[in-house]
Symmetry: C2
Subunit: 344 residues, 2 copies
């Protein structure tokens, strides 16, 4: 009662009340093997004193001393809660949270990372025991530093940077693309065109690889064309048809508007989808207005988040080590834009 402003209690206070040393309190309240060598009486008295004082360990001090915070970092290169693409980010977060909660970790969300000058900001993730990275950007030098220091890092999404030394949980675009191609083959198509964008993102290349593999496996004719959305028009479409193509696959509608351009071109050319020509996307389709249900495949986003967090925890605890790379297989989404090829 003499002290009006009471500090929150620390181990020293508990120790004083229980009549033992601070070291004993630390041992008694902790989980170290040394705990076994304390007498039952002492354990009890310490526990009682701690409860009486409402003692709660200071996570910061614990981390400084023991090098572990039970925190997983989540680093995004845009807002963690983007408004535009919320549908694509949210499931990752859901999965991450699930795993983290199940494994007893809390989440440290780094904000405003895009605006902060210099890549050095990345280093602050070290507050957490390990860190998940979301988003396309890869600050190589910074990550290199983290890796060199043995700091556990896991990307959500496949990354080939840093000489393949990055751990990740990604989506198997090759398998996904193959599913779509197989679906078309099953419908009877024999000549397929893959229209891809002009950038060289890993996922883009993977899609093409999956396309070729499946085309070869199914004994189809295939061709690939790189294009800008603006270069796709009715005339292009007609020339493809003239060359025998009955189905076109393309990338998802993320940044490039290939899919939208194809739909528009089909409309302009009076080509009915899917009666005259089938159309599919090697990925998900979003952001289209109106939104036709386009055939494609769905990324197992939530599962990716879960697996990534679980992997990170394994790396943190040492249950797994080194570079670990996982690919999850997407699931085929059959929409309204694919059907049998038109009769020859």
């Amino acid at each position: 009662m003499t002290d009006v402003i009471r500090r929150r209690p620390r181990q020293a206070d508990v120790a004083a009340l229980a009549g033992v040393s601070q070291a004993t309190v630390s041992t008694a309240l902790g989980t170290s093997p040394a705990r076994a060598s304390l007498s039952a009486g002492t354990l009890e008295r310490v526990a009682l004193a701690a409860r009486t004082l409402g003692y709660v360990p200071d996570p910061v001090a614990r981390r400084l001393a023991a090098q572990s915070t039970d925190l997983l970092g989540v680093y995004t290169f845009t807002d963690a809660f983007p408004v535009e693409v919320r549908d694509s980010y949210y499931p990752f977060l859901v999965g991450i949270e699930r795993s983290a909660a199940r494994l007893g970790y809390d989440l440290l969300l780094f904000t405003g990372t895009s605006s902060s000058r210099g890549g050095e900001a990345v280093q602050k993730v070290r507050l957490a025991d390990g860190c998940l990275f979301l988003g396309r950007h890869v600050p190589e030098e910074q990550l290199q530093q983290l890796l060199d220091a043995g700091y556990p890092v896991v990307y959500v999404g496949r990354r080939t940077e840093l000489g393949g030394r990055l751990s990740y949980v990604g989506a198997d675009y090759v398998a996904g693309a193959a599913q779509v191609v197989d679906h078309l083959a099953g419908l009877g198509h024999t000549a397929l065109l893959y229209v891809r964008g002009t950038d060289d993102a890993v996922a883009s290349a993977d899609r093409e690889e999956g396309f070729w593999r499946a085309v070869a496996a199914a004994g189809l004719r295939g061709q690939v064309q790189r294009a800008y959305a603006s270069s796709i028009d009715a005339r292009a479409l007609q020339s493809w048809r003239a060359s025998g193509v009955t189905a076109v696959v393309t990338e998802e509608n993320d940044a490039n508007d290939l899919l939208a351009a194809l739909l528009a071109a089909a409309r302009d050319a009076d080509v009915a989808v899917p009666q005259d020509m089938s159309l599919a996307v090697l990925g998900e389709c979003g952001g289209l207005e109106p939104a036709p249900r386009v055939t494609g495949f769905a990324l197992p986003r939530q599962q990716m988040g879960e697996d990534a967090a679980a992997l990170l925890v394994d790396l943190v605890t040492g249950r797994r080590t080194g570079t670990v790379q996982e690919l999850l297989v997407p699931s085929l989404l059959v929409g309204e834009t694919t059907g049998p090829p038109p009769p020859a």
Copy 2:
């Protein structure tokens, strides 16, 4: 080169390289007023050394020493990323992240808080400089401990627990309810019924208060009825109409299904909405299938998040003190379920 396993650099390393003391490095790299009394040359040499070594301050140590982490806690009593009600939580998070990023704070998300036994888990929020709370639940004893210790806490949503000592940024349900009532009055309705659920949530009571105030101000006849969704049927609806009621307002469709029950009852009773009777909700309507655009009001969720985080930062930095309570006014949403009353 002798050291293969290189620790990450600390201030002592920077100090050695720059030829100054660790204390000087701390001062030079920090923002304390003492920094002004360092020579330009020293500042420069320290900065250079730090850059050379890739020094990044250890946030944990910083916190332990300076009692500040630049972290805002976010404590939810369900999943932080709920799957069912994502639409209602997400905007809060968006706002919170915005403010936090703008003010230079990162976010600490506590997970699995619902499952962890005992309320003591709440105490771990202290890792952060202050903490936001989302959700209905209020663990009074635990919060009391935090408040007693002078720990900054802000609720998102109005809370009257703990003798009104909780700071919050909430929605002004009174004003929102009044907007809806005024809207109905403007359409020509003169006799209104408010069907409310059976719980006594603060928001529920606020709605009723707003209802009564606006009814009185507009000189209307009003009545209130507490009901379960299951007790609302065609007969009840007919009896209300018989008593002269031309518009019914109710709570949002969150947990209780009052709104859904009313719509179903109207259908059963062959009462056309809004021709025969207007229907509005004192809040938002979601989760209805099919989803009619019901007249109601929208909570400024994102703004609430932003303001709550900004308030929390003010409390953390001492720019504001004590209990601060803010209410934001919702905006009227005119849907398809309200219209002029039927001719008498």
